[in-house]
């Protein structure tokens, strides 16, 4: 056990918590993280690295953790790739290690490490190119098994997640000293303030580094005072366990609240806050940098700040004998914390030639060994961790030789601090390299700007580049609290520590732990010409793991700069993109899953259809009955039965989904003449006309029957999926192009239900209902209004089946009454419902097109044989000019034809290609294909190059690589070519 006898500001030593790791039970304390509890239990090996499967331990104490990723939970609550440094321990927590097989301690992937010469930078690109088939069957399965992170869950997530909207004047991200003070200032100014902190505690690094005195009080007391003051303010909202994941345009921010990860969930587990803030203050602090040296990835090599966090916050000694390797004064705090806690500090290696300063002196006074201008040349160890280090003198030019061996079980790295500038960068702010402080800090000249052009993101404290408590508080603005703290001397950044002669690297110096990217990889990338930081990143995968390079990017960019002989500022940095840390898939979905994922539109008869055995199909956002199941008949049998009913008796179709748009006004006719390819203004009241709608490219986009209800009013039918689109299309032209026209539109699709009554018995059926509509007198393409069975109806004599057919529209509240009335009176006439598949076969038998089947956005009315519907008289309509363009008038365009297969029993696959004579080229494709019960054979429609001039020609239709079948090109009208059946 490595739990210290005393100390640990966050733990409750009286409350024990039980948990399992890889099935083995452990005990921790209330307040522990999974990382601190495992360290307290002496567990140092927690993961295997991604590429080389090297043993890895915890490196950090926070969200920047690259190594310690685990699977959390089991069964339907299994979640991979969670950072154990952020998991608050609770009773019953189950965690398992990942990226190892069969177990952490004996992992076959270690072979990778032996073969690591085969995995240089860019190995995916280089090694696995040839032969191509080997990728699918050999390389990919092997790489997927050995590489990779945790396994994706296989069961549905039982937890709930929610989205919440909020608005504030000032959003402050980060509850350390700068964030607390900024919230206090904004709160006192009367602003609506939200202050969020990603951990479960306020105070940031001041909780660990409490050697400063603020306003005459110990740091901890000052924090408590700030929190109490903020809690008392009604205009301030405080949220713990809430990370500001992203700052977007115009003050829009996403907050990720892990509401119930530290307990058995009750209520939503995670919450996504969608906040609109006037100002965003990033008090997001800094992240300490590791130092690249040979073997810097053994378990037990940790950030110096993390080492002292474990000592001070959780009362855990990460090592019994620690070597500190530092580039700055702050690192000494770790040595002092360890020493104070009774842990041995084997040596302090300081990169600087002449370390002085208060903290350095305190260490010397405590009797600790300080070696100047010295670094770690090599770490030795095994899977359980560090065993010893060897020093290396710095500044020796070419004559580098390893020095003294020092036995130790922990190495603390203090490589300097990098501001967390992410929120600044997310929304377009620029960062600049500050050579004096060796850090990227926000560029005040290039901040993110809001819609008024004013800056709206400000980084304060460490995030803004402040290195000491005094500077942190002063950066907030306003009256600065008085701070008494140790003065610190300048740091000396170390981007790379040699282990032997200048040129040779000797062993692995890791930069990116999670993606196993080394210093050598970056140098290789630079030599191979990947000089841009963005290219080097992608080639080596530096910073592309789930931690997004929080520890590795700056060191990597510095190595690249050094290799290229450029200044850091000239190499530049990659862009920080949201989210700051990974957020759960559940919280992205929120409540919008299942039935709420996308609302489904249902007609008024939906329940009736369901009761009658309807199998539904999606049509746009609608669900329509595809066919109605009777008894135990098969799919084909029900479709055939429904088709025969329409051809021989009378069928009812729920056509309510057809779009219905009222277009009204003195200029309505003129307007519709522009919207449709054919003439609508000449339509007489009481008449219907089938119309085609194109876009200004000349391509078909919708079709439907237009009825003129009166002199100034038209009713335009659209396709089922097209009503909203067509309505918006009309409005766009009316508002932005022809705004002088006196026309109003209204989309009344859902106000009216509409049924087709189709078949030889249609008229007889309708005449049995009482009312004042004279069905016999209503001519083909006629429209009438009246009363049927006591209900107000609009009757259109139109046909999409080729049979005698009427469409009846009623206000939607009457839908079921009219539908049932029709069924009640027509039993002996053979009346019954038919679905969309029967509808499609019926229309295909007649050669009628369906927008989206026979058209695909590149098809003109001429292509589908509908030149008759394109007016030659009109000066203009949408699509007219485009149809004169050379490509649209050229010979050999694909044209709509019918296809009759040589084998009448064979139904062509939808989309199959028609082949040129030599079989080398596709000359067209099948657009609709069915078995037609009416004519007793298969039929198909196709778009084929120059098809209208090829009638009677036999073409090969490719079925797969080896098979093709023969079909004869024919008219697409397969049945009742003269239209006799609808003219009765």
């Amino acid at each position: 056990m490595t739990r210290l006898k005393s100390g640990g500001a966050l733990i409750d030593r009286d409350t024990s918590v039980t948990f399992t790791f890889d099935g083995k039970p452990f005990r921790g304390m209330k307040g522990d993280t999974l990382a601190s509890a495992l360290l307290a239990n002496g567990v140092r090996l927690v993961n295997r690295s991604y590429k080389y499967h090297r043993p890895r331990g915890v490196v950090t104490s926070g969200p920047e953790e690259p190594n310690a990723l685990v699977n959390l939970g089991s069964g339907d609550r299994h979640e991979p790739n969670i950072r154990m440094t952020q998991i608050e321990l609770f009773d019953g927590l189950e965690a398992t290690s990942q990226n190892r097989y069969p177990s952490l301690k004996s992992d076959v992937g270690v072979l990778n490490a032996a073969a690591s010469r085969l995995y240089p930078a860019g190995f995916y690109y280089k090694t696995f190119i040839h032969p191509r088939v080997a990728w699918k069957h050999l390389f990919e399965p092997v790489i997927r098994r050995i590489a990779g992170l945790g396994r994706a869950p296989t069961e549905a997530d039982p937890d709930t997640y929610e989205h919440q909207y909020a608005f504030c004047d000032t959003l402050i991200a980060g509850g350390g000293p700068a964030g607390l003070l900024a919230a206090r200032r904004a709160g006192e100014a009367g602003e609506r303030v939200m202050l969020v902190e990603q951990t479960e505690r306020w105070g940031g690094r001041l909780l660990t580094d409490d050697d400063a005195e603020i306003d005459g009080k110990p740091a901890r007391d000052w924090i408590a005072g700030q929190v109490a003051a903020l809690e008392a303010m009604e205009n301030v909202t405080l949220r713990l366990r809430t990370c500001c994941s992203a700052a977007f345009d115009h003050g829009y921010a996403l907050l990720y609240e892990r509401r119930a990860d530290h307990m058995t969930p009750t209520g939503p587990r995670h919450r996504l806050w969608r906040v609109r803030a006037g100002q965003i203050v990033g008090a997001t602090g800094m992240i300490e940098r590791p130092i690249p040296f040979y073997g810097n990835d053994f378990p037990g090599v940790m950030l110096a700040s993390a080492v002292r966090d474990y000592v001070r916050l959780w009362g855990v000694a990460p090592g019994q004998r620690t070597v500190l390797y530092t580039t700055n004064d702050d690192g000494y705090r770790t040595a002092l914390a360890l020493h104070e806690a009774g842990c041995h500090v084997a040596a302090i290696l300081d990169a600087r030639a002449d370390p002085v300063g208060i903290l350095v002196e305190q260490a010397r006074e405590a009797g600790l060994t300080v070696m100047s201008a010295t670094g770690i040349g090599k770490v030795s160890g095994n899977r359980d961790g560090v065993r010893e280090i060897q020093t290396v003198p710095l500044d020796r030019g070419d004559d580098v030789e390893l020095g003294k061996r020092i036995e130790c079980d922990c190495v603390a790295m203090a490589g300097g601090w990098s501001p967390v500038v992410h929120l600044y960068s997310h929304s377009g702010g620029k960062v600049v390299w500050d050579a004096d402080r060796a850090m990227y800090r926000p560029d005040p000249e290039n901040p993110p700007r809001d819609r008024h052009g004013e800056p709206y993101v400000r980084l304060v404290g460490g995030a803004g580049g402040a290195l000491t408590t005094g500077d942190v508080l002063a950066s907030v603005g306003g009256a600065t609290p008085s701070v008494v703290a140790a003065a610190e001397q300048p740091a000396r950044p170390v981007w790379f520590t040699p282990s032997q002669g200048k040129a040779a690297l000797g062993g692995k110096h890791f930069l990116d732990y999670q993606n196993d990217v080394t210093v050598a990889d970056i140098r290789l990338a630079a030599r191979e010409g990947f000089e841009s930081v963005e290219h080097a990143k992608r080639y080596t995968t530096l910073g592309m793991a789930t931690d997004q390079g929080k520890l590795s990017n700056i060191n990597g960019h510095a190595i690249l700069a050094e290799t290229l002989g450029k200044a850091m500022a000239d190499v530049g940095t990659t862009t920080f993109r949201p989210p700051y840390t990974p957020i759960s898939m559940g919280v992205i979905a929120g409540q919008e899953k299942g039935l709420l994922f996308k609302p489904v539109r249902q007609t008024a008869l939906h329940d009736w259809h369901a009761e009658q055995g309807a199998e539904f199909e999606p049509v746009g956002d609608w669900r329509r009955p595809y066919r109605y199941q009777r008894d135990s008949e098969g799919r084909e049998a029900s479709i055939t039965r429904e088709i025969k009913r329409v051809r021989e008796k009378v069928g009812l179709l729920d056509a309510s989904t057809l779009g219905k748009i009222i277009v009204r006004g003195p200029d309505a006719g003129k307007f519709l003449d522009l919207m449709y390819t054919n003439m609508m203004s000449t339509l007489k009241p009481g008449k219907c006309r089938y119309g085609l709608m194109c876009n200004d490219n000349g391509f078909l986009m919708d079709d439907g029957v237009v009825a003129r209800l009166d002199e100034q009013t038209f009713l335009c039918h659209t396709t089922s999926g097209g009503s909203d689109r067509v309505h918006a299309w009309m409005e766009e032209w009316l508002q932005t192009e022809w705004f002088d026209m006196r026309v109003l539109t209204a989309n009344v699709t859902e106000q009216w239900s509409q049924f087709a009554v189709a078949g030889p018995n249609a008229r007889a059926l309708l005449e049995r209902l009482e009312g004042d509509v004279d069905f016999a007198a209503l001519p083909f393409m006629g429209f009438a209004e009246g009363t049927v069975a006591g209900m107000p109806v609009r009757v259109f004599r139109i046909s999409f089946s080729g049979e005698l057919s009427y469409e009846l529209a009623v206000p939607t509240s009457y839908a079921l009454s009219l539908w049932e009335a029709l069924l009640d009176v027509g039993g002996d006439l053979g009346v019954g419902p038919y679905g969309t598949e029967a509808l499609h076969v019926l229309r295909a038998e007649k050669g009628f097109i369906v927008i989206g089947d026979e058209t695909d956005g590149t098809v003109t009315p001429h292509d589908v044989g509908m030149s008759w519907a394109v007016s030659k008289k009109k000066d203009d309509f949408i699509g007219k000019r485009a149809m004169e363009r050379s490509d649209l008038t050229r010979q050999g365009r694909k044209q709509l034809v019918g296809l009759l297969t040589e084998d009448p029993g064979y139904v062509l696959p939808d989309g199959a290609h028609a082949l040129s004579k030599d079989g080398e080229r596709a000359i067209g494709h099948v657009t609709s294909t069915y078995h037609s019960p009416t004519i007793g054979r298969s039929i198909a429609m196709a778009l084929i190059e120059g098809g209208m001039d090829r009638m009677g020609e036999t073409v090969q239709i490719g079925i797969d690589r080896k098979t093709s079948v023969k079909a004869v090109i024919a008219s697409p009208v397969f049945y009742d070519k003269d239209g006799a059946r609808q003219n009765v």
């Binding site: 977007f248 345009d249 377009g428 819609r451 008024h452 052009g453 409005e731 932005t736 363009r885």
Partner: protein, 102 residues
């Protein structure tokens, strides 16, 4: 996500309440125009890293189209104006000149 004010109904709302309609002030040529003119109307669009005059529709609000002057890089919005305006109003052009002066 942009914050946009609809000039027709006055509502200030999130970008997701609006639908973008591309570059503004593109004239639809007469049917007798040349192929090149028609092609320009159909396909040629500016894509500046600068002030952009564009069309938007308050799709999930009042349904009305309007124009907006927006900087495509800084995302600054200089103003919104009526869908039937043939060109940006002087007031908005003045503001752009003032805001983008070197």
């Amino acid at each position: 996500m942009l914050l946009i004010q609809c000039p027709v109904c006055g509502v200030e709302a999130e970008e997701t309440e609006f639908a973008p309609g591309g570059e503004a002030h593109i004239l639809r040529p007469e049917p007798g125009c040349s192929d090149a003119e028609w092609s320009a109307y159909l396909f040629e669009r500016k894509n500046p890293r600068a002030v952009h005059y564009e069309r938007w529709r308050h799709a999930f609000g009042c349904g009305k189209w309007f124009h907006m002057a927006r900087h495509t890089h800084t995302l600054e919005i200089f103003g919104v104006y009526a869908a039937d305006a043939p060109e940006p109003p002087q007031e908005i052009r003045d503001r752009i000149a003032e805001r983008t002066a070197p």
